[in-house]
Structure formats: C-alpha cells, structure tokens
C-alpha cells in the first residue's frame, strides 16, 4: 500500500475503530495527566526493550543512541496526545513503520512496544486521574483508539516496505543468478572444443564461438549475415549440409543419422579439417523454427587414427597370412627346386629342354622373392638403431645393385652437405630403402644414367631434420602415377612385385620420417626426410 492510499483511506480507518472528534478532546483531557509522567513512561519503555535480547539488539548504539531515541519517543507521545491527526500526522506515523522495516525490526515487536505504551499510559491515567471517573473511562477508550489507529498505519507501511524489500531482494538474486548463468554459458562457448554456430533459416551467419573463429581465422564482424556454407565449407560438401539443414528445419525429425553429417572445413592455415556437424532447430516464441544451432566436432585426428588402426590391423592380418603362406610355400618351392635340378641332370644333353627347366627355375625364384617381399612389407618392424653416416648407407645400396648396373653406362653423383654427421638409424633397413629407390631409378632410366643424391640439413615443422633427395635423369613420374607410388602392389615395371616403395615407406615411417615424390624436374625425385634426433 502506498502512503497516498493510506492517507486517502484514513477517514475510513478512523470510522472503523469508532474514532470521533470527541475522542480528540478526551485525549487532550488525558494529556493533562500524562504529560507530567512522560519521562517515567519513556524510562519504562526503554528498560523493557533492554530486558530482552531480541529487542535489545536495536539499541546497540549505547547511551547516546538511547538518549536520542528517548527524545524521539517523547516527541512521538506528545504528538499522539496533541494531534492534530491530519495527513502530516499520518505521514509521520507511516514513516516510523517504514523505518522499522528498513531496520529489519520484526512487526511483532512494534505491536508489543505499542502494547507496552498502551499499558503504562492506561496505568498512569488510572493512578493519577482526578475528577469524573466516567470521563476517565472515555479518555482511556479514546487513547486506545488513537493507539490502534497509529499501529494500523505503522503496520500497513511496514508491510508495504517489507514486501518491496523482498521483491528487490528476489530481483537482485535473480539478476545475480542470470549473470552467473550468462558468464557460465559464455565461458562454455569460448572454451568448448567444439564449434558452435547459429545461422538463420536461410543459412546466414548470426553468431559463432571462439573455436570456429580460431579454426577459420575469421572474426565474426567480418562474416555476420553471410552464407555459412560459402564461408566455411568446402564446395563439394555443401549439398550434404543443405540436406542436413532442411531435415533439421522440417519436422517430423528423422533418425539421428539424418541429423548429422561430416564435411570439410575451410581453415585459416589451409589444412582441411573434417568436421562432424549436428543441426538442431531453435524455436521462437510461437514454436516455429527460427534459427539453426550447428554444433561441429573436429574428427580429423579421430578419422586419421581410425584409418591408421585399420591399416595396421589389415597389415597384421596380411602379415599372419603371408607368414603362414611363405612357410608352406617354402616346402613347395623346395620341391620345385629339387625336381627342376634333378630334371636338369636328366636332360643335360637336350638344350631346348634345359632352357625350359631354367625358365621353371626363374619362375620359382621370382615366386620366392615375392613371398619374401610380402612378408617384409607386412611383418612388424623392429629397428636396430646404430650411429651411421647416411652416405655409407646409400653407397652400400649402390654396391648391392652391381648386378643391375653391369654393362650399363651409369653414374652416381653425390652432394653430401652432412659430411661426418651420424644419425641413429637402422643401417640394414635404410640400405633396403635406398636399394629400392635406386633400383627403380636404374629401371626407369635409359643409358647414360645419371643419379644425383643431394643430402642436406632441413627443417621439419619445429624439428631439425635431414633430407636426402634421389634424382634421376629418366622420364619422371607422370602426375597420375605420383599419388600411387607408395601403394602396395602398384608397379609400372614389367618385372617386380610393386612392394619396393611401399616397404621403403613403412621403413622410413618406422624411423619417424617421411618419404615422398619431390617436384624436381626433369626426371624423377624421391625425397627422404629423417628426424635429426631419430629414435631412442
């Protein structure tokens, strides 16, 4: 209730307790007996307040406070006895009620205090009244009505103020909670290891989180309102995502599979990332889908790991099968060898028959080599590292190719910037790698062959590395062949298993290195990069 309402209702309140103008006169009469005793009435009041802990706590200000309060109460009693009981009077009473609410003094103590004053004033009148006794009764009744009215006004304002304060406290609490919630969601969005993007129904960017900003390298202000697919998604993947958006926006929703799809994200550093997107509609107040929430998880590393695990598993299976096959085949190969050699003895006087036997032996030898290479490719690799000069490795590989070089015009040119530097590598395995690379170069080139080996320090990300380039003067590697060079069983040669470069790749990767087709022309270039501090 507002003060103005209270003042407006005051005449009705007076009527309700039976207050009349005659009561004013009766109180004036009583005042003559009460005013001389006001100091005792006030003494009694504060003595009572100090007696109980619940009320004594409002008197924590010491004697000064009590002196001040005594003065206030005396004035208050004088006003009560004197009037006039006009709006100014009502306002003063109302402000006392509000003040109590401000102090947190409970309403019950206001009522009790008023009861105490009522009692002491009644006793004073009973004790000191001189004259007409019926008048005394009327004066006490009038005083009671006045006190009832004062109490009603104070209570009304107390309650109004109290309600106002509770409302304010609740509002403040809600604001705090809201603020905390907002801080929490913002921090969640800022630190989430997932992309959170909101677009409108047409796919225009509304907002996104730090994760996407980091990956795409685009500040929100720059792209807000633009089509998100054109901004972030690689062209071939856009149709799937359009389908995903349409499915999310058109209820009834389909199976969870239809609500997610993977697509390639265009990133700031140019390295594509694979993102698994989930779309959820955001509804407006009418329940209509107004926007789309797109949450994207970067699954690039996960997919790579899965593919690697799958490849490793596949190789392990091939390895087991190949090892079993190679073992069983050895007995069969030995029997072919045995029978061919015995046949060779039987037909030693028949040159054409001998030629056939030799062809059988060649086929047998080729089969033997194939089994060995499959096993070499698929078997687990255990490196036996020693400190070795790289030049000694390719030179040994070159020596092993003496039969292939016999009768040909070939030259090996070395540019070794590493000198005496030794790397901790598996000498035997790397000889195998360079043997395979050099053998391919010899097979691809026509005479005169010139093979260059360029060995130099290199940088691999933040790591120091060594790069060996093997370049030949042959026809080079055609663009359609380049991506398949390290694929098992891929070969452009009429002879060969197609495993040489695949084995080389496995061995280099086991060293923590990298092998790739270089871009040097003319001719072919194979680049082998090994970490400088290779291995334990």
């Amino acid at each position: 209730m507002q003060l103005a309402d209270l003042i407006a209702q005051y005449p009705a309140l007076q009527a309700c307790v039976g207050w009349t103008e005659a009561d004013h006169e009766r109180i004036a009469l009583a005042a003559a007996y009460l005013v001389p005793h006001l100091p005792q009435i006030v003494d009694d009041f504060y003595a009572t307040l100090q007696r109980y802990p619940q009320t004594a706590r409002v008197l924590s200000g010491g004697p000064e406070q009590i002196a001040r309060l005594r003065q206030t109460l005396t004035q208050w009693l004088e006003q009560l006895l004197r009037g006039p009981y006009d709006p100014a009077y009502v306002t003063r009473r109302a402000l006392v009620g509000r003040r109590h609410a401000e102090l947190g003094l409970e309403l019950v103590y206001t009522s009790a205090a008023m009861g105490r004053l009522r009692t002491t004033m009644t006793h004073t009148l009973l004790e000191h009244w001189q004259g007409n006794l019926p008048l005394r009764g009327q004066a006490i009744a009038a005083l009671n009505r006045r006190i009832d009215l004062d109490l009603a006004v104070m209570s009304a304002m107390y309650e109004a103020e109290h309600a106002e304060r509770e409302k304010a406290a609740l509002r403040s609490h809600l604001e705090d909670a809201l603020h905390q919630e907002k801080t929490f969601s913002e921090s969640l969005l800022a630190h989430a290891q997932a992309i959170v993007l909101v677009v409108d129904r047409q796919g225009r960017i509304l907002r996104y989180n730090a994760c996407l900003q980091r990956l795409a390298g685009l500040p929100q202000e720059q792209v807000r309102g633009q089509d998100w697919l054109a901004t972030f998604v690689a062209e071939p993947d856009r149709p799937h995502l359009r389908t995903l958006m349409a499915t999310a926006l058109c209820p009834p929703q389909r199976s969870p599979d239809e609500q997610q799809t993977t697509a390639t994200l265009v990133t700031a550093d140019g390295r594509p990332r694979t993102i698994r997107w989930v779309a959820t509609p955001l509804h407006d107040a009418t329940g209509q889908p107004a926007a789309l929430l797109l949450v994207g998880h970067d699954v690039t590393d996960l997919l790579t790991a899965q593919q690697e695990a799958l490849q490793a598993q596949r190789l392990a299976t091939i390895g087991q099968v190949a090892a079993g096959l190679a073992h069983e085949a050895r007995n069969a190969l030995q029997r072919i060898q045995a029978c061919a050699e015995m046949l060779e003895l039987e037909v030693s006087d028949r040159p054409e028959a001998l030629d056939y036997v030799r062809r059988i032996e060649q086929a047998q030898s080729h089969l033997h080599q194939l089994f060995d290479e499959v096993r070499g490719y698929a078997a687990p690799i255990k490196l036996d590292r020693t400190l070795t000069r790289l030049a000694s490795i390719w030179r040994e590989a070159w020596e092993l190719l003496a039969p292939q070089r016999a009768g040909r015009e070939v030259r090996l040119v070395e540019h070794d910037a590493l000198g005496e530097v030794q790397l901790n590598v598996d000498h035997f395995r790397l000889v195998q790698v360079f043997r395979n690379i050099l053998e391919n170069a010899l097979a691809a080139c026509r005479d005169p062959v010139e093979i260059q080996i360029v060995c130099q320090p290199a940088q691999w990300g933040a790591r120091r590395a060594v790069q060996v380039a093997v370049r030949d003067n042959g026809p080079g590697i055609p663009p359609d062949v380049r991506p398949r060079v390290f694929e098992p069983f891929f070969t452009t040669k009429s002879k060969g298993t197609g495993l040489g470069m695949a084995i080389a790749q496995r061995l280099i990767e086991a060293h923590g290195g990298r092998i790739e087709v270089g871009s040097h022309t003319p001719g072919a270039e194979i680049l082998v990069t090994l970490p400088w501090d290779a291995g334990p």
């Binding site: 030995q334 015995m342 047998q364 060995d372 035997f428």
Partner: protein, 139 residues
C-alpha cells in the same frame, strides 16, 4: 685314395629327400642314411656314425634339432639343417654342436658350398652364423 665322406640325410618330403640324396651322391659323398623321420635319423646314426648330417627340421617323431642334440652327446658331428621356418635364436643357443641352418628353398650349388664349409672345419662349434638366402629373412 681316401674313402668318400659319409653323409646322413633326413627329410620327410620324398621329392626333397630324393633330391638331397642324388645331389650329395653327385658331389662324390657316400650317403649312409636316407631317413624320413628324426627318430630314424638318430637310430641310423647311432648304429653307423656319419661325418656330416643334412636334415630337415620339422619331421615326425623327432625334430632335426632334437636328433642333432642327441647325436652331439655322443660325438660332435657337423649338422646342416634345412628348414622352411628358421628356428628361433632361443632354440639355437641350446644347440651344443657344430651347426649351419639353411632356409628353403636350397639349390644344389648352395648345399654343396655349405657342406664344404662344414667339412673344411670353417664353422667352429661356437659359431652362431646362420647364412640365410635373403636379407629380408633377418628377424
């Protein structure tokens, strides 16, 4: 003229056994035993000790390695084992006699070279060398 050296052969596969016997005979040696199991090899060799043993490893009843180990307890006869599956280093460390292991398939000339090496005494009992046919077979 010295009597030809005596060679015992064991191999459960008939084609390969015939080949070994014929090749060894052609090289001028005397094949004293042509066994199909490890037990047969051991029995024959204990009756009539050879100068050299050429044997498969995996055979019924007794493996080539087990037969060789029993023989070595009597006499340090040189042994050439021919195998489709090279034995583990663990099996070889417990050998206890002069030994050479060849991986199948073995050609006549390769066998001849290995036998010469063993009979010329180039392989000392403590020598652990296992000449294998192809580098990729190294573990």
């Amino acid at each position: 003229m010295n009597a030809p050296l005596r060679v015992a052969v064991a191999e459960d596969e008939p084609d390969i056994r015939e080949f070994l016997v014929r090749m060894i005979q052609r090289m001028g040696y005397h094949v004293v035993c042509s066994a199909a199991t490890g037990q047969e090899l051991l029995d024959e060799c204990l009756l009539s000790p050879p100068d050299l043993v050429v044997s498969d490893i995996r055979m019924p009843l007794l493996t080539g390695i087990q037969a060789a180990q029993s023989l070595w307890q009597v006499r340090p006869v040189p042994v050439i084992l021919i195998t489709a599956q090279p034995p583990s280093p663990d099996e070889l460390t417990r050998r206890g006699g002069p030994l050479l292991v060849l991986a199948k398939p073995v050609s006549g000339p390769a066998l001849q070279a290995a036998m010469r090496q063993m009979l010329d005494g180039n392989t000392h009992p403590s020598d652990c060398g296992i000449p294998l046919n192809h580098p990729s077979e190294q573990p």
